[in-house]
């Protein structure tokens, strides 16, 4: 049902592939080969496992949130990726790709970032492995995630503001890809989610699948009805879904509903978008009739993206997972709910999932739900209080 790996053209069903400038095509093939070799090399997997344990803090707990469960009338199990070093699941991917880049002899790492979590995680990997690092970040996001900008700079990374387009994640990805086209011989581009040209969606999934594999082990046979995660590009969700697909539980991806789907200002590419090509892959995206990609909107910078990983597009069409959207306002309430019932301030991205549980409390009554708590909310505290203050 799920694909162990995409086909030789990098396709998940009709999605994915490699729609990239010719300049990058040899590098993408080289990367695919290097990753394939590395993942079969016991010294690579052992080093990765040791770093995941001793440096990142894996395994993360699977925590039964008793007071939240009581408030919602269901059993909620939180996979605590927020407790990882740097505060989100993004480090799973950057440590993996950083090790791979070192193995490939590339001395420079670049990344795009929206919420700043992936930028921080990449800057962290660069510091750990002694590499140069540049992070592209939309000017709007630099404003709303100032804390993470400071963290990246402290870690020795150069933060490059992107002012084209809406100055958010889509533009940052484009800017990072342009850098890579020019510098590919000495630079590795650590893309931050299961997006981009093959092999990125597959490789990032493989580095994130530890989330779901651990969860299955921690459940130790316990029955689960629903597995839910937020979907920006879709890496924390795919990291969880990969282990569960075809095993019984319903898989639910929660996208950013922004100001509401009817306003057109949202990031719900799977719920309200259509197939097309963005950033090197065939997938669902937000676009107009001429094929111009529309700007997304979300209160959470990490979900503010008009595309989505191609494997999610495949999961959607094949009915392997179901995708829903939650608005900005609901997400803020979700953040409050988790903070007050559990003493856990989530990032705004996974706060969307908590909000979806609250909305669906009747249909989910009595069920057991696993949620990827993909990151902690420190980065969002200032923005949330500003919004609360003005609203």
């Amino acid at each position: 049902m799920t694909l162990e790996r995409p086909d030789e053209r990098g396709r998940f069903g009709g999605y994915g592939g490699r729609f990239a400038p010719e300049t990058l095509m040899p590098a993408l093939a080289e990367l695919e080969q290097a990753f394939d070799e590395a993942r079969g090399d016991p010294s690579f997997t052992a080093e990765l496992a040791a770093l995941q344990r001793d440096y990142c803090g894996r395994p993360t707990p699977l925590y039964e949130a008793a007071r939240l469960s009581e408030a919602l009338g269901m059993t909620v199990l939180l996979k605590r990726e927020d407790l990882l070093h740097t505060g989100a699941h993004k480090i799973n991917n950057t440590i993996g790709q950083g090790l791979l880049a070192r193995r490939m002899g590339k001395p420079r790492l670049i990344a795009e970032t929206g919420a700043g979590q992936h930028g921080v995680a990449t800057a962290t990997a660069a510091a750990l492995f002694g590499m140069e690092c540049a992070v592209y970040m939309g000017a709007v996001d630099i404003e709303r995630q100032a804390l993470n900008v400071d963290r990246m700079r402290l870690l020795g990374a150069e933060v490059i503001p992107v002012t084209t387009g809406a100055g958010t994640l889509k533009d940052a990805v484009s800017a990072a890809m342009r850098d890579w086209v020019a510098t590919v011989e000495r630079t590795h581009y650590i893309i931050g989610s299961v997006v981009g040209p093959h092999p990125f969606p597959w490789m990032v999934r493989e580095f994130q699948r530890v989330i779901g594999d651990e969860t299955i082990a921690q459940l130790d046979g316990r029955h689960v009805d629903v597995v839910a995660a937020c979907v920006g590009g879709g890496s924390n969700a795919m990291g969880m879904f990969t282990a569960f697909a075809g095993t019984g539980p319903e898989l639910v991806g929660v996208e950013a509903g922004g100001h509401g789907l009817e306003t057109g200002e949202h990031g719900a590419s799977l719920v309200a978008g259509s197939p097309g090509v963005l950033h090197g892959a065939m997938t669902y995206l937000l676009q107009d009739d001429d094929g111009q990609v529309r700007e997304a909107h979300s209160v959470s910078a990490g979900l503010d993206y008009p595309g989505v990983g191609p494997e999610h597009a495949y999961f959607r069409d094949a009915g392997i997972a179901r995708y829903v959207a939650v608005s900005d306002r609901e997400a803020l309430d979700g953040l409050d709910l988790l903070a007050r019932t559990e003493g856990i301030i989530p990032a705004l991205e996974p706060a969307h999932v908590i909000a979806w549980l609250a909305r669906e409390r009747e249909s989910l009554a009595g069920t057991t739900v696993v949620v990827t708590l993909s990151g902690r909310g420190d980065k969002d505290v200032e923005q949330v209080s500003r919004m609360r203050g003005s609203g």
């Binding site: 990239a20 090509v277 090197g280 001429d290 990609v293």
Partner: protein, 265 residues
């Protein structure tokens, strides 16, 4: 005249074909037709008509800004193809439209190629279309008499180069620099070597573009290619000109210098 005829005529003249790039709809659709025509008067052999796209992965800041301005001025896909049609009519010279994969797929492969054919477009270039995904584009274009251009980069392997040639492009677009479109100071260090590799495989026309910004760099490329594309250096003149008339004057002057640089002897 087709691209093939233009390349042949230029070769008979011991020069490469000069193929300037401008953005359709910049500063507005009517004026952009006049700007292409000015380059035609200055000696262009054919044109690359840029269709504005909001996420141009292969383009540097100047062409990004030009695309954003053309979109801001209301240039649609149909409007951009309309510019190509009028340029073709006004100059009688072949046009390739330069775009990205998504607008083509959104319109539909067959529908897009039909629109291009109706506009008299000779070839379609999509900057993010590698040979691996090109077959349906080439087939849909062939059904409507529209060619597809495919790329070769300095990093392209022998095997990939062979696939590019076998796919049957109108011409091979040699990427003269590692990187996105823009203005490089020097002469491409890759062009001569790539040219030898392509020539060893095929008689298909070879055109260099990306980063070629001075007559000196264009002259160096012209010695080893059938055609040379100059984009950013010209688009920048349009963006910086106070009005369309001044832009046309600037393009006539710059265009003449590039056209002169095409002569090999």
């Amino acid at each position: 005249m087709s691209f093939a005829e233009r390349f042949a005529a230029a070769a008979a003249d011991d020069r490469a074909a000069f193929l300037p790039y401008l953005m359709a709809g910049l500063p507005d659709p009517a004026a952009s037709v006049d700007l292409f025509a000015a380059l035609g008067e200055a000696g262009a052999d054919g044109f690359e008509v840029g269709l504005p796209y909001a996420d141009p992965l292969m383009d540097g800041p100047v062409i990004q800004a030009a695309g954003a301005a053309a979109l801001g001025a209301g240039t649609t896909l149909a409007g951009g193809l309309g510019v190509a049609r009028r340029v073709r009519e006004a100059t009688g010279k072949p046009c390739a439209v330069m775009t990205y994969v998504n607008p083509i797929l959104r319109t539909g492969l067959d529908a897009f190629m039909g629109m291009a054919a109706d506009a008299g477009v000779d070839a379609v270039i999509a900057a993010d279309l590698p040979v691996d995904e090109a077959a349906p584009f080439v087939a849909a274009g062939a059904a409507r008499g529209v060619g597809v251009v495919l790329f070769a980069a300095p990093t392209t392997s022998e095997e990939r180069l062979r696939a590019v040639v076998d796919a049957g492009p109108v011409f091979v677009y040699g990427v003269a620099e590692m990187g996105v479109t823009g203005e490089r100071a020097g002469v491409s260090e890759w062009a001569a070597g790539m040219s030898a590799r392509v020539r060893a495989l095929t008689d298909l026309p070879l055109v260099f573009g990306v980063g070629i910004a001075t007559p000196r760099a264009a002259a160096a490329a012209a010695r080893v290619a059938d055609g040379v594309i100059v984009g950013t250096a010209l688009v920048r003149r349009v963006l910086e000109a106070p009005d369309a008339a001044a832009a046309a004057d600037g393009l006539r002057e710059a265009g003449a210098a590039f056209a002169a640089a095409m002569r090999r002897s």
